[in-house]
Subunit: 724 residues, 2 copies
């Protein structure tokens, strides 16, 4: 299924190394942007169980922007409440607190848990639906060559990679060939976890050996290393991770628990008096994941050294869990997966080499898994990078935009590591016996950290710094990681925002979502549902009260500027694309829905197609719905109902600019700082032919044959009820 | 893919003739109930476009009970508002009213529109997921033989059917081979409407000719004729439809409209002054369906005779629409499908022959399509029938239950025809010029009829009469169609309900749905989501305030009765099934969620499994959720918060009985009237072994090896972040 036969030399725009969540997110973006891509993985199959499982609210929002969050939402376990259990003064466990797991009202999605294998399945299906890109398994980069002199040449393929095809045996991870406790591996049971839609993967694996041992050389414009904590791409670049390894040792069990502990279907953080700590993460299909601290009784490695793997097995881990949970009973008959690990927190110094070779995910940050952040931050790395590489390859953005990847994501990685360090220390520590016990961890402090951590853990606290794509006040260097990200426009020539016009829409943060109604059919949509990840920038025009003639004049003037032949919309949109192909204009007005119709607004808000008529999808209203209440979008966004405002949103839903609704000049300045002027700009009409509907025909390009009716099919034999 | 090779004689429990929506719903039920089934259709492929498209709220609820409503909800167009357009005194069109399309708060789903081909696709996928049943296309019943003397013998196969396999040419409907307006049929464009997941269907079609011309004889316990208005099964039975044909002639266009009519994305009912009426039904993928009255100008047939089909074509239909919509403009470039029809309303006298051969869908009722009811009522026919046939075949219910199919559904069909007759007359009639114009239709009256019709059109007004499966007051004969449906229990020995204990849960109507929280994980569920269509009866115990010791004693006593070896639950459940296999007990209490845990309630509400521990899915609470508000279930159901009540719900979600929460005797009497006592009743324990958790081990059947741990797999090499 690879676009190029394995035996041939070939060229690709982008080579993605590794098909875990970070690699799949990258390929997924590129599938939407029409970028010629290959994605390889040294493993022979995708993951079927175990591994990471926590998904943040923000990750679900992102998946929804690609159209598959609903699959996760249906299959996953939803995390709604955290129960804290602590020792009382006599050392007996009691439930000290119940707190919400996801903070109410920060997202339309709550944190959920679903094993990584299903997540990967949804990505694979999504990629296949939109492109010919397929993960090539059992394929490994052997050598790489990078001609740095061509790094800044947009059309060059400066990277040569030699790929090697493995045999089925080479491509099979060790843990599925042997069992850690010496018993024979139960492969049949292992595979019985498969969903029906995974069977093709297994069939493909048996075909690996056809190509085993062959090599090929590939030329690439970009390489993205999503190849994990032991990244080959990172090693090749000579980059390293910095951080530390602690001496806390943890075990993980994925089991169907048999227990009388009453909160087994809740996320629980349990500190025992002296047997260590335990975290319960209830999962899909009756499974529960337990993170279990292996205390000094089983302490296997000495301080500062690595643990002795051979001494960790499910019996040892379960024994620890039973001691922590005492007097509650815990056992199991079914164990889906288990592992052991030592906590370490590390971040990479460099996220890219000359903005041609990039690193993402575990390749640049590792940390403990208990907070459920790892898979999310990894996916969000490439969610940040994907559209930027796509835009450079497709000629919409200048290469300088790629510098924002490191400045934005390295900062996030550092935040993550700091969070994890603080959280792990408190969770692994012994609970304080009383206020005088200074070595112990205060349970009140722990609860406080947990609650504060929730905002971070939702993924919604991400706040990108000032750059050529975020028109914020302050210092770009301070707000990022020091990388120069103001591009050619420079800080002084850059656009300026007026945050006070939309106090609920924070510059640098993701666009919050509230319900608005489509003007034409009254259907409520979460605003984010209109911001699909398809590579488009959006200008969201909060048009205010368009029944006020003064306000309406502002909107009409703005519409005329958008539609003029010199407008930034036309300038940055190639003639080959529809008028909304690079910058999509959306309108949300605050007048009553029933008092106006779509024709009240200028044509740019409802561009005309000679084959499909007016576009009814782009004009919305902040009004009461019939069945889903009132979204109160203006109020929630902190926007004046009368005067409105305008917002520029990046292709990844982060907010670039906020300003006056008709501040066309500032919008123009913003886009000049990051978009590329097209050689053949868009000059087509967006209005209906005058003789049809009285619209102004602004160009000669409109097909004049709208009245030539084609009948595609028909029948009079039978019909809705064959009652003729 | 047929369970039996075509050349062999075979036996099946149920043969379904016809694979439209009614036939597919039947096969879908049987796929869940493990009934040996074949489903045949004379057509070579499923429908790809056109045909019926409206889906009621109730139909979506039913689809959700089978797990695929979300696919419809995502792809469909949602119908939210009806706009009425009428002539003003000068005869000019104006929008006279906007009314909600689905009445707010009657269902969690609103009416939607999606073409029948997609609906059929979702059924096919659903059937394939749960069974080996596959639609056999290009297969026709040729002759049938019914030995009536064996009709009441449960084990007999009294029906012999000879099936004939058609060639591809024979199985291809005429309208896809020729075009109605004389131009060549654009098959390529026709097929370009296919979704990716339909391609296998087309491949299968090319395999038809392997079996062409061969015949086979099949013995069946039951035959269900879902073979449309011209039903072969109905003809064989000698049954007919009664009703009338009017002289109103209508055309249908499925187009992407190019228009300046402002409400084109709303459902509209448009009465022009003298050019006839038009209904707009906006659909998925920018399509709009127009139902267009062809007025006297084009009147083709004379009164009382059939129309001349050759004179109806898209130009004629569009011309009518343009005159009705004047002064608004309407044209199109893309037409997906079109047809013409004359309104007729007819209902069958008999819905079954000796409760062995059944008829459903268009085979027993036809009417006009504009109200979007046809596909819904057809599917709901077999939704009513499927579980009953399944229960009789599986030995849970007596054959007498099958009589309730005709008594319940024939009444609905008659209601539908009455509704359609009234609605069609008002919609087809000329609008009154003023109050003195008695021949014209009053537009105020029309609006009123539209609003009242909305409840009917939602599918939620269905109210089944008194019978052995609905413990209602009154006369079973009067409330049904005259069929005897009290079974062996008779009216006097039957169970009696106390409707006043739950004023919002109407006997004979579908169980309404409000949100409740799972006690164990605080997740909100719509109550209906717990009532999956899997053949189980439910006793829903609204347990009231279980913190009140008196109330708790009632619940404990009830739990002990449910769990006794003589209980109706054990008596009607075969030993081979789990304890909840025939009657599932659910609890919804009204105490605060945080004040109790699942162990507060008796074991029957959380039956123990030696391999999976306690069942956490069956105990819910009416309390505030973190993210989705408070369902206020007790309030909405009209149930006392302290004392609660109990409700028996049929496998199809209709309400059988309402009574005191601990009225075990009446529940027992109810089930005695319809369920079959098992030869080997269920005697297994539902409690945990005493030595494990201190539970009472009520039988010797519990496996005592719960502590024998099986490790299914594991790894210490890698792990959540390979940080070891």
């Amino acid at each position: 299924m690879a676009p190029t036969p394995a035996s041939e030399k070939g060229k690709v725009d982008c080579l993605v190394v590794g098909s875990g969540p970070a690699g799949l997110m990258m390929a997924n973006w590129l599938s939407r942007l029409g970028v010629k891509t290959r994605i390889i993985d040294k493993r022979g199959t995708k993951i079927f169980n175990g591994q990471a499982d926590g998904l943040q609210s923000r990750t679900l929002e992102i998946m929804d922007s690609f159209g598959f969050a609903h699959r996760v939402w249906r299959e996953s376990n939803h995390m709604l409440e955290i129960n804290l259990w602590n020792p009382d003064p006599q050392g007996n466990l009691f439930r000290s607190d119940k707190i919400p797991d996801t903070i109410p009202n920060i997202s339309r999605f709550q944190q959920v848990v679903l094993h990584q294998g299903r997540i990967e399945r949804f990505f694979l299906d999504s990629i296949a639906e939109y492109s010919d890109i397929r993960v090539e398994r059992g394929v490994l980069p052997e050598t790489m060559d990078f001609d740095e002199s061509k790094a800044e040449d947009n059309d060059a393929y400066p990277i040569k990679v030699q790929l090697r095809h493995l045999s089925e045996e080479e491509a099979t991870p060790k843990q599925s060939a042997t069992s850690a406790n010496g018993a024979a591996m139960q492969d049949g049971l292992f595979r019985s976890n498969l969903s029906g839609d995974d069977s093709e993967d297994l069939l493909n694996m048996s075909r690996l050996n056809d190509k085993a041992g062959s090599t090929e050389t590939l030329e690439a414009k970009y390489v993205v290393g999503c190849d994990g904590a032991h990244s080959w791409v990172r090693s090749w670049c000579g980059f390293s991770l910095r951080g530390e390894q602690t001496d806390y040792v943890w075990g993980v069990l994925d089991i169907i628990p048999i227990t009388d502990f009453p909160d087994i279907r809740m996320r629980c953080a349990i500190h025992s008096a002296s047997s260590g700590s335990l975290m319960i993460i209830p999962r899909e299909n009756k499974l529960v994941r337990l993170y279990i601290q292996l205390t000094t009784t089983e302490k296997i490695g000495s301080e500062g050294t690595r643990i002795d793997r051979s001494k960790i097995n499910p019996d040892v881990i379960l024994g620890s869990a039973q001691r922590i949970l005492h007097p509650y009973k815990l056992t199991y008959r079914y164990c889906d997966w288990w592992t052991g690990y030592q906590i370490g927190q590390r971040v990479g110094d460099d996220f890219s080499l000359r903005e041609r070779i990039f690193l993402a995910g575990d390749a640049v940050h590792t940390h403990s898994p208990k907070a459920g952040q790892g898979m999310n931050v990894s996916m969000q790395d490439t969610y940040n990078l994907g559209w930027k590489i796509g835009a450079v390859i497709n000629g919409t953005c200048d290469r300088t935009i790629l510098k924002t990847y490191q400045s934005e994501r390295r900062r996030i990685a550092q935040n993550l590591i700091d969070f994890d360090h603080r959280f792990s220390r408190m969770f692994s520590g012994r609970p304080a016996k009383d206020v005088m016990d200074e070595e112990g961890i205060s349970m009140a402090e722990f609860k406080d950290a947990f609650e504060k951590g929730n905002m971070f853990a939702s993924g919604l606290a991400v706040d990108y710094g000032k750059s050529m794509i975020v028109a914020k006040e302050g210092s770009a260097e301070d707000q990022g990681d020091g990388t120069e990200v103001m591009g050619s426009s420079g800080a002084d020539q850059g656009a300026h925002s007026n945050q006070s016009l939309a106090t609920g829409i924070k510059l640098g943060m993701r666009m919050p979502s509230f319900k608005v109604l489509n003007q034409s059919d009254a259907r409520p949509w979460h605003l984010q549902e209109l911001l699909k990840s398809n590579g488009r920038w959006r200008v969201i025009v909060f048009a205010g009260n368009i029944l006020n003639p003064n306000q309406m004049r502002r909107i009409e003037h703005l519409g005329a500027q958008f539609n003029s032949l010199e407008s930034f919309i036309r300038r940055y949109t190639p003639d080959s694309q529809p008028i909304d192909g690079v910058i999509e204009v959306l309108a949300i007005h605050s007048s009553s829905r029933k008092s106006v119709d779509v024709f009240a607004l200028p044509a740019i808000f409802r561009p005309f197609s000679p084959t499909e008529g007016w576009d009814y999808a782009k004009i919305c209203v902040d009004d009461e719905s019939y069945h889903e209440g009132h979204g109160e979008a203006y109020k929630n966004y902190g926007i004046d109902h009368e005067k409105g405002c305008a917002v520029i949103v990046r292709p990844d839903q982060y907010v670039s600019w906020v300003g006056e609704v008709d501040d066309y000049a500032m919008m123009d300045r913003f886009f000049a700082g990051c978009l590329q002027k097209q050689k053949k700009p868009h000059i087509g009409s967006i209005d209906a032919p005058e003789r049809m509907f009285g619209g102004k025909d602004t160009s000669q390009k409109v097909d004049s044959t709208a009245a030539d009716i084609e009948v595609m099919e028909g029948t009079v034999d039978g019909g809705p009820n064959a009652a003729l």
